[in-house]
Symmetry: C2
């Protein structure tokens, strides 16, 4: 018997719906599909043999502890090794600033729990990371959406809007940014804008959630300092993950934050999932102790850098000039904007018939009427051959569309 429970659902649950990306994933199971849709690391980079050795050793040495509940803050040795890695990146932090989480998505959920009341305005770029929007939606946030350009969030517009909101008595408490190789656009915020954003946090009294899953994956140009490195007042919550540089299946990420904020996040995490997989944490720690991390990052950069070059070359060769696209220096995604009037959901429908998948950009905008002329292309998951062939086919589909107009 099926019962309708919809009258029992909370307000937040009533507005939950399966994302377009999620629905799309089902199509991707089709054989011969070339998918630029996902956001998956390439499995060819996973250090399977090393992890196998590590698990054997840590279970032999310390199985009783690793298979037991851990404390909510995280496995102590891992917190230390993360703290020292973050310090080496210029952050003024100790172990007390580190919370280990079950993937950095959890930091979005915990920040929502700790900061957002229904209708609170939070500032995001448009486009921004889809699952940050769905995460903040759970806490019934309102959005102030700031457009991006090839320097990530438009700081001039951000300043203007903050002034205007303040004039209206609206003081957003949280600003969410992905400064490096932003998902979905691939664009990066220059250092002067990072400093300016941190200064403004103090000026306007807001907290910044700096989401940095891809910071280590820079294939071109020089590393830029995290917003957190400019943060004298503890206003920046920095989060990153082992998912992109080791393996997502372990579900281990971390947050770096002011202890006063972290304390609330820890209490919230305790009633959310008690603690992060201790086995996963022990693997991540041992991986760093054995000094595999930097070698692995170099390896991944080589593999993904090549894929990015192949995609950019193929775009140049096969995609008509009336399409514009970003030139990421790292990360996993490239973002394309179609000529006026061409709609990415329509294009996707036709592309799927040619066994090409991407994500229509509209999913990444807080305003559901935005982004119809945009698309996100992932270059890390498909093989090198599929990148070139896929973009060739995509070019044909776009040419076909242009011909019909």
């Amino acid at each position: 018997m099926t019962t309708d429970f919809s009258h029992h659902f909370s307000e937040r649950a009533r507005q939950m719906k399966a994302s377009d990306v999620r629905e799309l994933l089902k199509l991707l199971q089709m054989p011969d599909m070339i998918s630029f849709a996902g956001g998956l690391p390439s499995a060819e980079t996973f250090p399977v043999e090393i992890i196998k050795d590590i698990v054997k050793d840590v279970l032999e040495r310390n199985g009783d502890q690793i298979l037991q509940y851990g404390i909510t803050e995280g496995y102590a040795p891992l917190r230390e090794s993360i703290a020292s890695r973050m310090a080496s990146k210029g952050m003024d932090v100790t172990t007390d600033n580190i919370l280990v989480v079950s993937g950095s998505q959890q930091v979005i959920d915990l920040a929502g729990k700790v900061f957002i009341n229904p209708k609170d305005t939070i500032v995001v770029s448009a486009p921004t990371y889809l699952a940050a929007l769905t995460g903040f939606n759970t806490y019934q946030a309102s959005y102030e959406a700031i457009p991006i350009d090839d320097q990530n969030m438009r700081m001039d517009i951000f300043e203007e809007r903050m002034k205007k909101l303040a004039g209206e008595g609206n003081h957003p408490k949280l600003v969410y940014v992905l400064p490096n190789f932003q998902n979905p656009s691939g664009v990066t915020m220059p250092t002067r804008n990072r400093k300016r954003l941190v200064d403004m946090a103090s000026e306007y009294d807001f907290v910044i959630l700096e989401d940095d899953p891809y910071g280590e994956l820079r294939y071109v140009g020089d590393h830029l300092p995290a917003l957190k490195t400019f943060d004298d007042e503890g206003r920046v919550i920095f989060t990153s993950t082992f998912s992109k540089v080791l393996a997502p299946g372990l579900r281990v990420g971390w947050a770096v934050a002011d202890p006063g904020i972290l304390k609330k996040m820890i209490i919230a995490k305790q009633s959310t999932d008690v603690c992060t997989s201790v086995l996963g944490q022990a693997i991540a720690h041992e991986y760093m102790v054995r000094k595999h991390m930097d070698r692995q990052i170099e390896h991944i950069k080589k593999v993904y850098g090549e894929k990015l070059r192949l995609m950019l070359d193929a775009m140049h060769e096969f995609v008509p000039d009336s399409i514009r696209w970003t030139k990421p220096e790292g990360g996993m995604f490239l973002w394309a904007t179609l000529p006026d009037g061409m709609q990415s959901p329509d294009l996707l429908e036709k592309a799927l018939k040619r066994k090409i998948a991407f994500v229509s950009g509209k999913a990444f905008f807080p305003n559901p009427s935005d982004g119809f002329s945009t698309m996100r292309l992932n270059f890390t998951y498909p093989s090198n051959e599929k990148i070139t062939e896929g973009i060739r086919r995509l070019g044909e589909v776009i040419h076909g569309e242009l011909g019909h107009r």
Copy 2:
């Protein structure tokens, strides 16, 4: 520099505070402490060697998949093996009814997300599982607290209260119960009350969250059917975990629910932590495939059953008759009630000086003025010797208290 962010915290975060149990855990690090305070399985039961073999094999066979992101619903082979195990316990379920979660605590969080609006009344027993209260508090629930007796929730009082609430126009949508060897009291709900509760769910149109972490850990008497087995209308969300029968450090549990409810929980989980550790899931699945589960449960039952007997014997020998305590048939906890006027927080202070720890029962009541004369004693974590010696010392402390009155 330290900044005060308290004005930015959400309403829910302002009321979050570290639990007494959490604070207590720090004291437990002291050498020679005999702790009946925690809720940890005994590490001596962890099948370290088997897990080591399993990890080696699953990584060799399927490393690329196991280290990758998984789908939110759970690792497909594990969902299947859980569905067939649940079917063998009398539940009418398929894979579509199963959601794998990052420990069963996550089901409490997801149920809160999906069902609870601020001020919604939910029904719990008093006492009940502490981290369910803190989990539901996150969603700003109000509680209707039903007292327990040695048959778990008092059904007569439950019926009376439901009638009264209905008369006031208040229709609780969620009832949270732990029918087997309840945490904290160890008491079990008889079959007729289980049936009655499911019938009432239909009559009063509510959903039941049936939390069953210890159901397999029965040391005395016969297994009783889950509430879920009487559920024709999909009103019961059943949850259990591998934490108590395999290893908590893997963080793998599951929910069994109506697909309409599960769909909302899946969307909520996606923005909470994307998916549960795939490595942990693969270990749990392979553990079942290799038919270790039932053997392991028999082993644990032998170990814990002996510990329970030792604790009951020691209580009988060393603890004065003016104290009453439950006689659990399974699970991990025993619950004691002090004579009128004796307060467990005071007793705990004195016990800690004798290097004995327990949890004052007050933490387990939704009403902060309740439970001062109660205490929870865990018998699974301490060694057999420590159980006897610890209860002996506890008896002395209680005798001392009684002598002073």
